[in-house]
Structure formats: C-alpha cells, structure tokens
C-alpha cells in the first residue's frame, strides 16, 4: 500500500501497542488513510434523500429526528450537493423504493420489518408514478434542484440497505469513478451498508459523518454505532465542513 507518510503514525502506534499492550491500544490514536479528491475519479453518492427520513411528516421521522437535529443532517446534505454541483463533481443518488410485491417477501430482518410495517418508501409499482409527487418516497423538495437537473445519476432503488441489488457500482465504474464521498440516510443502515459494499468492490470511500443520521430506538444508538464503524472501516470519516473544503480546494 501507498502509505509511506500518511501511515507512519499507525506504525509508531503499533510498535507502541506491541511493547506496552492493551492500555496503549485503548488510548493511542489510530490514523485514517485519507482519500484524495478530484473531479475525474471522485463522486458524491447520496442515499435515501427522501421525505420518509427527512421530512417531519415522513414515516421514519420519529426514529431519526433527534439524530437529524444533532448532526444538522438536512443542511449538511444540501451543502454537499451545492458544493458538488458548483465544483463539477458527478453526483449519484441511490434511492429506496418499495412496491406492493415487496410487502409480500417471506422473511426479513428487524429493521426490514419496521420499514415495511411503517410503510416507508411506498410506490405503486416500478412503472407507476401515481401518488409519488410529494410522497414519503419522493425526494426532499429542497434537494430537487440538484437531483433533477438532468445530470445527477439516479440509480435503481436499493432494496435492503446496500447497493448489492441496484446499479450503483456499475454506474460509478462506467463513469470512471474510483473514489466515493458518501452521505445520506440512514447512518448505520443504508450508509454503512453502502460503505461496506463499495469497499468490498474495490472503491475508496470517505463518509461524511454529519451528513447522515440514524435511528435511536429501544436504547440502541444507531448514530454512535455508525460513527464507530465509519472510523474503523472507511478510508476517511470527514465532517461536512472538511469535505466541502476538500471539494473546493481542488478548483484553485
């Protein structure tokens, strides 16, 4: 790996662990590899920028609203979209839609059941837009100027949490993208599954940790889990501010 300088800190940390054991391991920092940003090979990917998460009338609003407020998620996603468009980064959206036959799946995990039960992302069918406009499945109004400009690539819907069952990976590859700036909803479910899958597919991924938010439910803090795993797994876990600085600076 190319990490001569950036990882010297990790090396010294690891020697330290080896000599002094777990106390050191629990207190010493470990460094992020970082990720380069350029317009040719880097894209902004947004998952689920939809009313069901980000509008007070959305089906999952109550599950995520505390985390949305803490992270300033709504504003931060908009800042990312605005900066990407202004600086000519390609933007991809991986949305989440469910059709009537998805309600008849024979099995599913815990939050899958919740998504179906509270009727998130409902559409009449893949070839119907009846009732879609302004629904929980639709994009947040304030994002539409960025998402519906004819340039943003809107992939097929992911169906559980990750992009395994849609065309995000292919669309990125067909545009020459190898590095992804990842943001959107929700943190420990769709963002984290997108992060993990993109990394397994050989992309570099920087997650914007405050341009997402997660459910807090039954004593479980999805936001904290997500931020832990972003730090451990991604190439970088940046704030919106840091991300914007990087996107702007390459223009100079």
């Amino acid at each position: 790996m190319r990490k001569i300088l950036q990882c010297s800190f990790v090396f010294s940390f690891l020697v330290f662990v080896d000599l002094y054991g777990v106390a050191a391991a629990q207190t010493a920092p470990f460094s992020s590899p970082g990720m380069q940003v350029d317009q040719s090979h880097t894209a902004l990917v947004i998952t689920d920028p939809q009313n069901d998460f980000l509008s007070p009338k959305g089906a999952a609003w109550n599950l995520v609203k505390d985390s949305v407020a803490e992270n300033h998620t709504i504003e931060n996603i908009e800042l990312l979209l605005k900066t990407a468009k202004k600086n000519k980064f390609k933007v991809f959206v991986s949305p989440h839609y469910y059709y009537p036959y998805d309600q008849k799946w024979l099995f599913g995990g815990a939050m899958e059941h919740v998504m179906h039960d509270i009727k998130m992302y409902q559409r009449k069918g893949p070839l119907s837009l009846e009732g879609f406009q302004g629904s929980g499945a639709d994009f947040l109004d304030k994002y539409k100027p960025y998402l519906e400009d004819g340039q943003t690539i809107i992939t097929s819907p992911h169906k559980i949490f990750g992009p395994e069952a849609n065309d995000l990976v292919l669309q990125l590859r067909k545009q020459g993208i190898t590095r992804v700036i990842l943001a959107g909803m929700s943190g420990n479910l769709c963002i984290e599954s997108h992060m993990r899958e993109l990394i397994e597919q050989g992309f570099e991924v920087a997650v914007v940790h405050d341009a997402t938010a997660s459910a807090k439910i039954n004593g479980l803090d999805g936001d904290k889990a997500a931020k832990t795993n972003f730090r451990m797994i991604a190439n970088a876990s940046w704030s919106t501010r840091e991300t914007i600085e990087k996107m702007k600076s390459i223009q100079r």
Copy 2:
C-alpha cells in the same frame, strides 16, 4: 411477510410511536423477527476462528482481548461448534488469509491498513503451507477437531471483511442452506459484514452476539457498535445459551 404472530408486537409498538412520538420511540421495544432452526436449511457459519484474534500471541490480541474476555468468546465459539456437530448441523468456516501480493494493494480503509501493518493472517501464498501450522493464520488448536473433521466446509478466504470475494454464498446455496447462525471474529468488522452481505443475498441470519468480540481502540467500542447493528439488522441476535437451546431442541 409471514409475521402474523411474531410481529404483532412491532405493530402495536409502531402505532404507539405514531401517536406519542419520539419519547415512545426511544423507550418502547421493537421486536426481532426471529429465525427457525432446522438441520436441512440452517447452518453454523464461523468467521476467522484464527490465532491472530483468539490466541494471546495473536497479532490482534491486544485490540480484542477485553471484548473476548467480556463475551467469553473463545468458550462460546467452542460450545457452538460442539453443539452443531453433535446435532448434525452443517458447519462452514470463512477464514481470512493474506498473501504477499495483498500487501501491495494500492489503497485500503483504516482497519485494513491496521491488518496489513500488524501482519494478520499472513501466509506465504495460496499454494504454500510453509510456516502455516500454528501461525497466526492457523485455526485455534482447540477448534481443530471440529474444523478438520473432513465435514466442515472451509471456504476460500474473505479478503476485506465480507464474503463478497469468496465462495461462502455459493457453498451455502449448493447445500440447500437458507438460514445462517453466524459467529466468530471480529464483531463489527467481519461478522457484521458477513451478516449484511448474507442478508442482501436473501439469507435469514441469526447472529450469536456473545460468540464474537470486537476491537476497542482509540475510544471506539467496536463491540457496542456491533451489538447495536446485530439487533437492528439481523433476523435474530441470540446469546450462545439461547442458540444452543434452539439447536438442541429440534433433536427431541
């Protein structure tokens, strides 16, 4: 979905949320869909039962040893193996090996760098076993009677955290397995990535939350993150004791 009885609790909870909002959301339980267990369609899958994690001489021992102690991971994995074999469940192992050319990868995420830097799971090559016996990459001695009985299916190595780049999914399908009991190392990295990918591939997954353990490093608690996500994502998050009871009971 088939959830007539099992999910009535979720339904009542969700009505509750709708009426009373986030305070309810944060305190009311949400239920697990659960998972049936039978020998024909259910298998035990163990990730990384290797010395680098589970032996005090292992390369990553210092990162996980607190969590290993808290969860009684070593004993619990053995209990699962013993119970599975005694009750004729199929057992699959998804191991982790790195070869010299993997050290030359051009990029990687944070814990990927750590794994390469501390030289985890090192082997001389895919067609060499020189120095393998008893190394960090080898299985824990106490598990070998179960793993090397000629019946346990040992897949090709996963290469980051999930099974996307090995034959686990295919091996499960070719044996008619549709439900996975998942345990092994480490919780928020390989177990969680296996859980997420298997679910995206249409399996039902029950994670054994105390037959795994995770790194605690730099203020990040991988074990807590993992347990949060097991609860939210899997079909079930069981203790070793619960899992063993289920595996035994179908024999009666």
Copy 3:
C-alpha cells in the same frame, strides 16, 4: 450431487471417452441433469419482453427477426406466460431500460455500443414515464395482461446483459424460489448472461430454448451459440412444449 440414476448415462459415456478418445467424445450424448418443477420453489423469469426486440417497429427487430420467426418466439413466450399464470407459478420480469445518462458511459463492449447506437430501451429517466407507453422500451401489448396483473414481479432494469445490477436474485430469494424457468430476449446476450449469473448464485436453471431468439449479424449466429451454451451449462434446455407439459403436470 444427487444424480444416482439420472447421471448413470453420463458415467457410462465418460468411461467410454476415456477408453476410446475423441471420436467417442464427439458422438456420444451427454445427459442433462434435469430440473424439478413445483409452484413453491420454481418461477418463470422473462427477460426483455419489449417492443424493441419483438415488434416489427422495434429498434433491434432487423437483427433478430429471422431467429424470432424460426423459434416462434413471440407465441412461445405468450404460451409460457399463460401456462404459468393458469397454474399459479410466480412470474418475474427482468426488463432492460436505458436513461439519458447511460448514453454517456465512457466505455462498453460491441453489442453494448450497438444497443446505445440504435437507441434501444430508451426512457426519459427512472422517474419519468413520458413517452413510455407503446415505445420500444414498453412491453409487447399482447403480454401486458400477464405482466400488468399486479402479481408479476417486475424487477429493476438490468443494465448490460445479466442481472448483476438489478434485484432479480434478491426478489427470487425473498419469494423462496430456488429454480428458474428462463425465457425471453435475446438468447446469447441477456438470456445467457442471466442463466450464467443465476447458476453462479446457486439457482437451478432450465432455459426454454425456443422461447428466445438471437441476433444474426455479420456471419455470427447468436442463436446457435446460445443453444450450444444452454445445453452445456443449464440444468435443462427444454422446448416450450416440454416446459408447458411439466408446468401443467404438477397440477394433476
């Protein structure tokens, strides 16, 4: 493998090859493993039942019309749909759509270029149906009663030839399907890529060799190539007549 009886013929053939070499290899039959058919685990999957292939006004009609005529493809697909619906088999469609940004892909293979150049499967966007009705991307009118009955599962579009970038595999798994009867357009491109991918994902696949058709172009006979590979790769390569008999007989 379970093939005690069904493969005895293969065994005797192979002994024969071993003794008498290539002359035997080129003349002796090799047997098909076959595939069981039942409504719970077997589904009909149709790819690209769209005007661009099957209507004389379609963009690719000239490339495939000879093969369509020879195979009686249009009628055979309808017979399969009718039989499947009447006998309560689940039906899945994996369609092919291209959006304006797909035209900007940076690279592609030979027939990919052709598909873009002759403007196959064009839609205005994933969230627009403007101009869709009756277009080359739309379903053949005579199939619509079967495909738009609210029961047929229409997956997201595949984007090259196989289902790697859509949700077909997941939708099949979520409905408990493990065996696929595969038909549709075109034979050596989308059908063959679907057959290969479904088999790699651990499904059993029977291809209906005359409910498909392929391009004949520049001395290349896609239909012959497809039929060769169906025989060598699938669990079974059936005629429409044989397939219908199997689907009907399980009702008795």
Copy 4:
C-alpha cells in the same frame, strides 16, 4: 460513450440496416469498440492453465484436444505470459479447484456434472497440498516459471465458471486495473463467464480468441459458440499475434 471516431463505422452500418433491413444486417460488418493497452491499468488474466485441460493426461483432454490443436492454445498462452512478463504487465490467474465437499453439492448444471464426474481439478482440501504437485489440478509445467515467480497474483479458485465466487475482481481493483486481456481454458465456459462477469462489473475486456479452446461434444461446438459471443460482447476479440503486438508496442 466516447467513440467519436472508432464507432463511426457502426453508425453507418446501422443506418444501412435501417434502410435495407435484414439482408444488410446479415452481411454488413459491425465494429469492435477496441481497447487501449497500458501497463498501469491493463492486466493479463489467465483462467485454468491447468493439466486437466492442457496435458494429454488431463481429465478433460479428450473433450478439448481438437480445439486446443486448432487454436494452438498451449503455445499461445505461453506467448502471452512471456510477453506480459517481459513488458511488465501484471498477470493474474483465476484457477479452478474442487475439494471433497464440492462433490456433495446437491445440484448443478450439465458440464458441472461432467467436471465432477471426470474428477477435474481435484484437491484434498483448501489447506492440503498432498498429491497436488503434477496432478490434473496443478499448472502446466511450462507455465510455472511465469506463474510461480512471486509476482503473478493467483486468486482463490472460481467454483463454477465465472469469478463471482472468488477474489479476482477485488484483486484487479486493488491494483488499479480497469482493462483485462483475457485468455485460458475453456472458451465457452470459464473464459466466457469471466468475460461476461468482468463486463458487468465495469471492466473493459479484450478476449484472445486463439489463446483458449473449448469442448466439442455431442455435436455441440463450444469453440464456435465462444468465438461468436466474444465478438458480440467483448470490447475486442484479438488473436494472440495482435495482442502481443499491442503489448509490445507500448514499450517503444
């Protein structure tokens, strides 16, 4: 797509088709998009360069020997390896191995059954090399200097025909490879499935049509089927001679 010049021929051909119909379609050439070759982003990928296919004592020799002779496959693969190494192209091998538990798969397609029945690629297990040296599963002796030089990346085995269940895609991505020169055994099975899957994963692929060979069995000509599909699907279908010229020329 960027094809301004290279595809003008396709455009004129297609206009021709539109005006004059199928007669034109069957006689006019359609062009290949071609593929650039450079050492940073282009690699040579060889599938199954193993005795079972390429040695007269190999288990499948009788099935492929006519095609091997016609294509000069053995020499051509060696020429590619030699040229790649001399000109500093990265080389990847995707081998094929079966272990005892693979013999117990519950189902499989036609040639899958044949592979198991004639005991191709047999090894004692993934962690055993007992009896491997010189066996049908081992590499052809004359290729070993190239494949065992410590630089060639040997992936985990593919298990049916494509690379879906091994780490080839990840290994290519982790080395920055986006274009693949593909050769090896056998043409309409593993090479074609590798070609299709790599293209679905967003790689450019040039197949070397005479550095492969295919089974001819029971009146089925795998070589012809493969060559048809290489022409229709890949970015380019080159002879060994053409491929070598391209690899050499970038050195000048």
